[in-house]
């Protein structure tokens, strides 16, 4: 079902007006900037706005309006769109990641065009997988979970599309901006001021939509998954605004200066950076875990009260942990110690969540054995426990002295992103896609099993090789001979990395192959559904659960 077919004529008019406003905004940006990345981004917004104007304008009177029955159904069309975008960004983001891993082993392969240099492609990978893949998955699943746990339809039909299309415009601006050399040099927050402002508008709309839908819920409670999604939305807004406070050089340039300086800038950056891990890459995905794992296993969460305790623990402890990124820097020593202490304390709520998820599977281990989708979720919970233990460990100052600036950190990040985040996303996608496209199962059920083994093998090869790489680097850099001179030159430590970089490329390629298989499988399921997708929207039940 297309977007327009789900909208009434009034909603189409509203969408038409917003699209026209977007086109005007794009035209203004392009006209003011005249050239450079901001002009290109203005042109992109203009093209998108005009395309949407034609799409919605052409359907203003042609299509029949959706029936009133829709108010008694979940509104899943935005979730379907979000899943498609998740899969597209997965292939793009992970594909660039594998290419970059290959460049680490074979740097001579870098093409001459500056846009293909490692420095420009690296943020395309990180933003592509974190925001494109992870962000779309979070938004799509949050709409799905919110409606089902609240027994309420999304509060309106236009906002979800604005959020999803607007968010993907931000992602596209980010990726293309990096290729043109545009960055504000803040890790995981590279897009320039106008993209940041646009994201604020999108995010506030998302937050308001979430609150309005929750306010309409037919359940007396707010299920814990929604708490995590709400923390994700609210805190990411706060982090994004504070970290991106900047003064544009001119209104027509895609360049700016941050208002922060010196060690305060570093502290703000890593307060943002680590809490991006906490609230973008953890809280929302825990929301997914707390919904999809019990539902798939058909067992209630092992301890609901523990889930509440771990929620507040994660929310309050994570907020203080960012300074562990700045050990041995100009940051006051006690602030570093504070970050280290809270990082260690974080292990308690993190393991409480991981343990709660794994204990939920007690009595359902036969399902884990037989169902690859549930196995994705189980492995996600295990890797969540492992990577949070590793995170607390790496935050300890003497350990950090060995690990910092080495590939151990990269291995740790990928144990979290591949093993935890991507696994729970794939589990959620495989749970939702058949239902949302009106089928009983995926088109290729055996491919899900293949995907699982490709993903787990790829993750283990990647993570273990970078553990070895990082520890080797750290030990080589701190080795001294009897005369007090360094035992190894830096280039010797780089040469020692080659076998590990080859292994990491192989691990990443296996993981990417699994993601491509997932995208093809989802595509086949969507095509097989055909027109049945129109009938796939499920009726909602307003009676509270007994």
């Amino acid at each position: 079902m297309t977007m327009t077919a789900t909208l009434t004529s009034t909603e189409r008019r509203i969408g038409f007006a917003i699209s026209a406003a977007l086109a005007v905004l794009g035209l203004t940006m392009a006209a003011v900037a005249k050239s450079g990345p901001m002009a290109v981004h203005g042109a992109m917004a203009l093209v998108l706005g005009v395309a949407l104007v034609f799409h919605l304008g052409g359907a203003l009177y042609d299509h029949p309006e959706p029936s009133n029955r829709r108010h008694a159904e979940y509104y899943d069309a935005p979730t379907r769109f979000g899943i498609v975008m998740t899969l597209i960004w997965a292939v793009v983001g992970m594909g660039v990641g594998v290419w970059l891993a290959a460049l680490m082993y074979w740097p001579e392969a870098t093409p001459l065009w500056p846009g293909t240099s490692y420095g420009r492609l690296r943020p395309v990978h990180t933003s592509g997988v974190i925001f494109g893949f992870g962000g779309n998955a979070l938004i799509a699943t949050s709409f799905y979970v919110l409606q089902r746990t609240s027994r309420a339809r999304l509060a309106d039909a236009v906002s979800p599309w604005f959020v999803l299309i607007g968010f993907n415009l931000f992602c596209a601006w980010a990726a293309t901006g990096y290729l043109m050399g545009q960055t504000q040099s803040k890790e995981y927050a590279e897009p320039e001021w106008y993209a940041d402002l646009w994201l604020v508008v999108v995010w506030v709309t998302y937050f308001v939509l979430y609150i309005r839908t929750l306010a309409r819920r037919a359940e007396p409670h707010i299920y814990v998954a929604n708490w995590y999604y709400m923390a994700f939305i609210l805190v990411v807004a706060m982090l994004h605004i504070v970290n991106n406070l900047a003064l544009p050089v001119t209104w027509g340039s895609g360049e700016s200066f941050t208002i922060w300086s010196g060690v305060q800038d570093a502290m703000i950056q890593w307060w943002y950076g680590h809490n991006a891990v906490a609230f973008f890459l953890t809280a929302g995905f825990l929301g997914m875990l707390y919904y999809f794992l019990p539902v798939r296993a058909q067992r209630p969460i092992w301890s609901y009260r523990l889930s509440i305790l771990s929620f507040w623990g994660i929310v309050f402890f994570y907020m203080w942990a960012g300074s562990h990124h700045l050990h041995y820097t100009a940051l006051p020593y006690w602030v570093q110690t504070l970050g280290m202490t809270f990082s260690i304390m974080l292990l308690v709520p993190s393991w409480a969540s991981a343990g709660n998820a794994i204990a939920t599977l007690n009595g359902a281990w036969h399902k884990v054995r037989d169902d690859a989708v549930l196995r994705f979720m189980f492995v996600a919970a295990v890797f969540y426990g492992l990577s949070t233990f590793e995170g607390s460990f790496l935050a300890i100052r003497p350990v950090n002295a060995l690990s910092h600036y080495t590939d151990w950190t990269v291995g740790h990040v990928h144990s979290g992103t591949l093993g935890w985040v991507a696994m729970i996303v794939f589990g959620a996608i495989y749970s939702m896609v058949p239902k949302l496209w009106g089928r009983d199962d995926m088109a290729w059920p055996k491919a899900v099993e293949w995907h699982f083994w490709l993903a787990i093998t790829g993750t283990l090869i990647y993570v273990v090789s970078l553990w070895n790489a990082g520890i080797t680097q750290g030990l080589m850099w701190r080795a001294y001979d009897e005369g007090g001179a360094l035992s190894y030159s830096f280039i010797e430590s780089v040469e020692a990395m080659l076998p590990y970089y080859a292994a990491r490329t192989l691990g990443g390629a296996l993981f990417l192959a699994g993601a491509v298989l997932c995208a093809l499988n989802c595509g086949a399921t969507m095509r097989a559904a055909g027109d049945q997708v129109d009938e796939a929207d499920r009726p909602l039940y307003t009676q509270p659960a007994e």
Binding site: R148, V224, P294, L309, W312, G313, Y541, A545
Partner: protein
């Protein structure tokens, strides 16, 4: 207010209020009188799935 005073406040008030907050969360979530309600909430998502499957 001197820098030292600010540091003292940051070092003491933060952990104290946060520890107090966690204590309140613990007492509220582990109150035996809430057990039945928590059990109902945990099962609420499963009944929704059963209903969806039946349609």
């Amino acid at each position: 207010m001197s820098h030292e005073t600010l540091v003292l406040i940051a070092k003491t008030i933060g952990p104290i209020w946060m520890g107090g907050f966690m204590l309140i969360v613990f007492i509220r979530s582990y109150n035996p009188r809430r057990r039945a309600e928590q059990e109902r909430i945990a099962r609420s998502i499963l009944s929704e799935v059963e209903r969806e499957t039946r349609t």
